[in-house]
Each structure stands twice: as C-alpha cells, then as structure tokens.
C-alpha cells in the first residue's frame, strides 16, 4: 500500500506541493527545503498557543515546530492509523529575531521497519537568511508501514 507525504513549501505567500510515496522515504532521502518568514503575527499566534511570554526573539521551539510540521503535516497513513512523534533532539545555535526568514532542511537518516510499523529517524538543520545555522536536531517518528 502506498501513502503520500505532501510537502508544502511556503515562500513569499506562494505555495508549492510535492507528493512522494512512502517507499521513497529511505535513508538518505532529502525532503524539499521549506522556507518560513517568522513574522510578528506567527510568533504572536505561537505564544498565545503555548501561554508564553515574548522577549523580542522567536522561541526556538516555534522554529522547530515549523520544521516538524513541514515534514509531517501531510502524512496520509492508512485509515485509522496515526503518526507518532517518539523522540526529539535539538541544539540551538543563535537567537533569531522576529521577522527573520529561516530555511528548513530535513533528511531521512535511518528507517527501521519492524512488522507493521516503521521508525523514521529524521535529521533537521535550520539556517537563517545568512545561511548561518540556527538549529539542528533529530526526530524519531513512528508510522505504519
């Protein structure tokens, strides 16, 4: 059975959609880059959602959330099944001001299939408009195979 990841790339209010089959999600697969402008509105929405207080910078977890969402938001697993975020590693490298633009890179580092489940280990790297590293990390995601 195939299912699809629809990857949404947002840049300058334009959106492009690319679908890949789950079989393409093998070690080394690189997701298309996603670019986000971290506007005051986006940060404000995020802070409201997490009951957070702003301090003039983009909360690092807001940046991670963009990267994670860009990868997982359009998974279409078989009916009645779910995609689970199992673990997360992160490293922050710099403060990011509101209004900055970030670029998210993600690749499949490893795919482990056991029975009817697969574990995807994804490597993330996020850079700013100067191509300086903002964050890096690894996410483990469990999904039905």
């Amino acid at each position: 059975m195939y299912y699809y990841i629809v990857y949404r790339c947002i840049k300058n209010n334009q959106m492009s959609v690319k679908a890949v089959s789950c079989d393409e999600l093998i070690a080394g697969y690189e997701f298309p880059r996603a670019t986000y402008e971290l506007t005051a509105l986006l940060v404000s929405k995020y802070l409201k959602a997490v009951d957070g207080a702003g301090d003039g910078f983009v909360p690092p977890m807001a940046i991670t959330a963009c990267a994670i969402a860009a990868i997982t938001k359009s998974f279409s697993p078989p009916a009645g099944t779910v995609v689970i975020h199992a673990s997360q590693e992160l490293e922050f490298f710099k403060l990011v001001p509101i209004g900055a633009t970030i670029e998210c890179h993600a690749r499949v580092a490893q795919k482990i299939t056991r029975g009817r489940m697969s574990m995807l280990i994804l490597e993330l790297e996020i850079v700013d408009q100067s191509k300086e590293k903002v964050q890096s990390g690894r996410a483990t995601i469990a999904l039905p195979s």
Binding site: A49, D51, P60, S87, L90
Partner: protein, 144 residues
Amino acid sequence: MLTDIREGRVLNPVVRHITQEKINLYAEASGDFNPIHVDESFARKTPLGGTIAHGMLNLAYVSEMMTSAFGRNWLAEGKLRARFKEPARPGDTLTISGKIDCVEQKDDVSYAICSFECRNQKGEMIVTGETTVKLSKDEKHDRK
C-alpha cells in the same frame, strides 16, 4: 533567572492545563494539522481513543521552564534530548519539573546539565529528557 547555579538546584516548575482549544491554537500556529491532534471523530477511532497534544507543545513548556531558569543562554545555545512516553490529552494538567544534575567544565566553559520530566495529574510520565545549557562566564555557579 537562577542566581545560584549548582548541582541539585531544582528549577521552577511550569504547570499548564491542556484543552482542545489550546491544541487547535497550536495547530494553527505551527501548521501541524495532523488529525490525531485536531479531528476528534478521527482520533476516537484510533488506538489512542481521542485527540492528543502535539509533542512539540509539551516541549514548548519545557523550553519555558528552561528560559525562566537560564534566559538567553538557553534560547541561544541550549541542547535538548526528549522522549515522548505517553500522550498528553485535553483535560490533562501537566507539571514540568527539572533540576540541575551537574555543572561541567569543558575547555574553560561551564555547562549546566539538567534533567526534566513532564507528568500529568495522575502522575503519569508524559515526557522525560535532558538539557544542556552553556553558562556565561560571569554567572555564579558551583559544582557542588
């Protein structure tokens, strides 16, 4: 922010109540509309039996605790490793707690190594993990 950074120092906990409204707000803010978070009829039919909060929402609360303790040192140069044990659900009250396990010196730089956990009102472990924060040279800290 903490004024005494030392081994065993307990971080100020963060307590947050999870509601479906908050989960929906988080989905809007993050763009993650996975139906297990926002579609109650879909979620009821899955083995999870209902909607769950985004894992990254739980980590946002962990980050809040760390920001409160270490300020920009956390925001600019923090490291985190988290394992999601159980889902947080609407109606849950989460308590995020942590402590400094040790202060390490490496290449003339000090790091606070912390452990944290997030539990619901029943005491069930939702998230557990470790964080590392690089400390400023002028910050008071003691390895004991």
